[in-house]
C-alpha cells in the first residue's frame, strides 16, 4: 500500500457519512434474535450464554484487553473470530473483547486461543472487569501520572478477581490521569485519579514569547491567573489554584508538572446503575500516593487493601458504595485503616451536604 496523493485523496474522500450501519456487523444469530432474548446464564467469569425466545443460544467468551492494542494483536483476535465466530467480534463498553458463537464446543477453544494470544478470559458476573482508563504519559499533555502503567500494575495484583474469584458484586475500577477525568471515574467503585498538588511554575521569559495572555487568563477555571504587566507575563493566586493544568494546556511555559509532588488519589463508592441505591459519586478515600513507576507498589497495595476489606465485609450484591453506606464512612476508615485528613473534608462548592448533621455516628 502507498500513501494517496493529495489529488487521489481529494477524489476519494467523502464526508458526513457516519459509521457503518451496525446491522452489517452483527453475527447471524444476533440479527435473527435481535430484541428477542429471554435470559442469560453465567458459566464462569469468562463465559456466558444468552438464550432467545426462539431457543437459539449464543455463547460469549469475554477476554481482557490492555486497550492499547497494536494492529498485529487485533489481527490475532480477528483470526480467532474467523476461526470460531463466523468472522464477528465485539468490544464491550469497558474495553474487553467478546467472542460469540452458537456452538458450545467452541467455548473452550476460543478461551484457549485467546489466552494463548495473551488475553485471558474473565470479567463477567460478580467480580472485577477491565479497568477503564485514559491516556496518561502515553499520549496526554495533562497527565499527572501514567494510565496504562498503573492499570497494568493494579490488574496484575487483583487478577484472580477477574478470572476466577468472586466479589460481593460487580466491582468497577477506573483510572483518570488528571482531574479532567476522561475515564469518568467519578462514579466508579474504586478509582485512581492522578493529581497535581502545586501551583504551576511560570517561566516568564517564555510566556512572553509563546503565550497569548488573555487566552491564558481565560483558561483558568478558578480565575486564579491575572496579568503581571511588569514581567509581560501572568501571575497565579495560590489560594485559588486547584492545580488543574488548564493553563499549561494553552501555555506550556506555565509548567504544571512536578515529578516529586504529582501522584494519585483514590476515590471509592461510586456506581452508575439505578439498581437498589441508585447512582452514586465516588468519594475520596486516599488523598495522595506518590508516583512510583514502574509498578506503583503503594497504589497497588492500597487498592488491594480496600478491595479485600470490602470482599470480607460486604453482603452479597452490595456494591462498594452500598457497603460503605451501610456501615458508615467512619467504619470504612476504621476497617481499612486509612488515615482521615483535612483533604477528606470537602471545601468545594457543595461541601455543606457532606458535613455530618446528626448526633448518631459510630466511634
Amino acid at each position: 500500500m502507498a500513501w494517496l496523493t493529495e489529488q487521489e485523496a481529494k477524489a476519494k474522500r467523502k464526508t458526513d457519512i457516519g459509521p457503518p450501519h451496525y446491522s452489517k456487523m452483527l453475527p447471524p444469530v444476533i440479527s435473527k434474535n435481535y430484541g428477542k432474548w429471554k435470559y442469560h446464564e453465567v458459566f464462569t467469569p469468562g463465559t456466558m450464554v444468552h438464550v432467545a425466545e426462539s431457543g437459539d443460544k449464543v455463547y460469549t467468551v469475554r477476554v481482557a484487553s490492555p486497550r492499547i492494542l497494536a494492529t498485529e494483536s487485533i489481527r490475532a483476535m480477528l483470526d480467532i473470530a474467523d476461526k470460531y465466530c463466523d468472522g464477528y467480534i465485539r468490544w464491550t463498553t469497558r474495553n474487553n473483547v467478546e467472542f460469540m458463537t452458537t456452538r458450545e464446543e467452541n467455548v473452550p477453544l476460543i478461551k484457549k486461543a485467546a489466552e494463548d494470544a495473551g488475553y485471558p478470559a474473565g470479567g463477567i458476573g460478580s467480580g472485577l472487569s477491565n479497568m477503564v482508563h485514559t491516556q496518561g504519559w502515553v499520549h496526554c499533555h495533562s497527565a499527572a501520572a501514567d494510565a496504562s502503567g498503573l492499570v497494568k500494575a493494579i490488574m496484575d495484583e487483583v487478577y484472580p478477581y477477574f478470572t476466577e474469584k468472586k466479589l460481593p458484586a460487580k466491582t468497577r475500577l477506573a483510572l483518570a490521569c488528571c482531574v479532567n477525568m476522561c475515564g469518568a471515574v467519578h462514579c466508579s467503585d474504586l478509582a485512581v485519579v492522578a493529581i497535581h498538588r502545586k501551583v504551576p511554575e511560570i517561566n516568564h521569559d517564555l510566556v512572553k514569547n509563546m503565550c497569548e495572555i488573555p487566552t491564558t487568563i481565560g483558561a483558568c477555571p478558578t480565575r486564579a491567573i491575572s496579568p503581571d504587566p511588569a514581567k509581560k507575563s501572568v501571575k497565579i493566586n495560590p489560594d485559588k489554584c486547584m492545580y488543574c493544568g488548564n493553563c499549561f494546556t494553552v501555555c506550556p511555559p506555565i509548567d504544571i508538572h512536578r515529578p516529586e509532588e504529582d501522584g494519585v488519589a483514590i476515590v471509592v463508592g461510586g456506581k452508575v446503575g439505578s439498581l437498589r441505591k441508585g447512582p452514586m459519586f465516588s468519594k475520596l478515600a486516599i488523598p495522595y500516593i506518590k508516583n512510583n513507576p514502574p509498578r506503583w507498589p503503594e497504589v497497588v497495595s492500597a487498592v488491594k487493601n480496600i478491595l479485600e476489606t470490602y470482599a470480607n465485609d460486604a453482603r452479597k450484591h452490595e456494591r462498594i458504595g452500598e457497603w460503605i453506606d451501610r456501615i458508615g464512612w467512619e467504619s470504612f476508615f476504621k476497617k481499612t485503616g486509612i488515615e482521615f485528613t483535612y483533604q477528606h473534608i470537602d471545601d468545594f462548592t457543595f461541601a455543606r451536604d457532606t458535613f455530618r448533621t446528626s448526633a448518631a455516628f459510630k466511634w
Binding site: G35, R90, P259, G273, P293
Partner: protein, 395 residues
Amino acid sequence: MKKYETPLLNELEKGPWPSFVKELKKAAKTSEMANDEVGQLEKSFRDKRGYWKHGGIVGVLGYGGGVIGRYSSLPNEFPGVAHFHTVRINQPSGMFYKTDSLRTILDLWDEYGSGLTNMHGSTGDMVLLGCRTEALEPLFAEVTSRGWDLGGSGSALRTPACCVGKARCEWANIDAMDICNDLTQTYQDYVHRPAWPYKFKFKIAGCAVDCVASIARADCSIIGTWKGNIAVDQDVVKDYAKAGMNINAEIVGMCPTGCMSYDGKTLTIDDENCSRCMHCISKMTKALRPTGERGASILIGSKAPIVVGSLLSWVIVPFMKMEPPYTELKELAEKIWEWWDDNAKPRERIGEVIELKGMRSFLEAIGVPPQPQQVLAPRKDPFFFWKDEDLNGKK
C-alpha cells in the same frame, strides 16, 4: 531504528494481565513512531512526568474535529513522536465488527500511522493513536471511501454511544443501538463541525442497569424503561430457591422500595410501588420480566468535575416512547441545543447552564412540564420565585 533501553517498562511486561508495553513494542517492531513512543515513555517513567504538548487545531478539510493534535515536547530526542495526533474513528453502534471490515482499518493504520490503537476511547470511538499531520488527509480519504467516518471532538456533538441492548440483552426496553446510530447519522454536521458552547454527549442504555454509564457521562442520557408490571414465573422462583438463592436476603431485602415479599413459596410484587430499579430482575432473570409499554427516561447533564464538580444526569422527561425515526427525541434535543446555545458562555456544559439559569427556565424553553419524577425531593428553602402569570389566575 533507534534501540531504546527500557528497564522500567520491561517491568510491565511481567505479570498475568495483558501488557500494554508488549503492545507498544509489537508496533515498534515496524513503526518508527511507535518506537519513539516507547523511548519517550521510558523517559517519562524515569522522570515521572509526561512530555507532550497540546495540539492546537489540526484536522481534515471541512471538519472541525475528529483529530486530537499532539506534539512531543522533546521532538529532537524523539522525532517519531514529534507529531503524534490521534484520529477518532466513529465506532459502529454497539461495537460489533465484521472481521474483514475491521481489517480494512488496521491495514490503513499500519500504512498511515503508528500501528497503535485504543479499542476504544472512553467516549466510544476507535482511537488511532499517533499520526503525523500530513497523513491526516490521505488517511481520511481512505477511511471515508471505505464507509467509515471520524467521530467528534471539540465543542461539538461527540460520538454517541450505547450498550449492546437488543442485540444480546433480554432487558433492553429500547433499541439502544438503533437510536445511537440514528442520532449519529442525523447529526453528522454537528459531530464534525464544532459550533456549540462546548461538547455534548449522548449515551443510550437499554435499561436502568446502564451498562454504558450514560447517567454519569452524557449530557443527554437515554435510558430504557417500562410502564407495567413485572411478570413473575413462580416455578422458576422455586428453581432459584432450590439452587440456593436466599430470596429474602438477596432479593426482597434489597429491593429499595420494599415492595416485594416472599413467604417461602410465592414471590409477590406490589408493582405500584416498584421503582423499576432492575435489581430483582437482574438477579433472577429467568423468573422476572417487565411487561407493558416500553420507552425511555431522558436525563440531562452529567459530566466530569471541572469546573463546578461532577454531575450525574437529571431526569427531565420521565417517559418517552422510542419509535423510529425518534422524532420526539430529536425535537427535544434540538430545543435543548437551542436553549443551551442561547444561554451558555463558552465552555459551559448543558448541566452547568441549567444549574445557573434554573431548571424552570430550561423546562419552559423545551416545553416540558414540572413533574415530581424530576426531583429526588422538592426544594427546602422558601425562596421561590413567582412570575406574573403564576400570580394571575392561580389559586
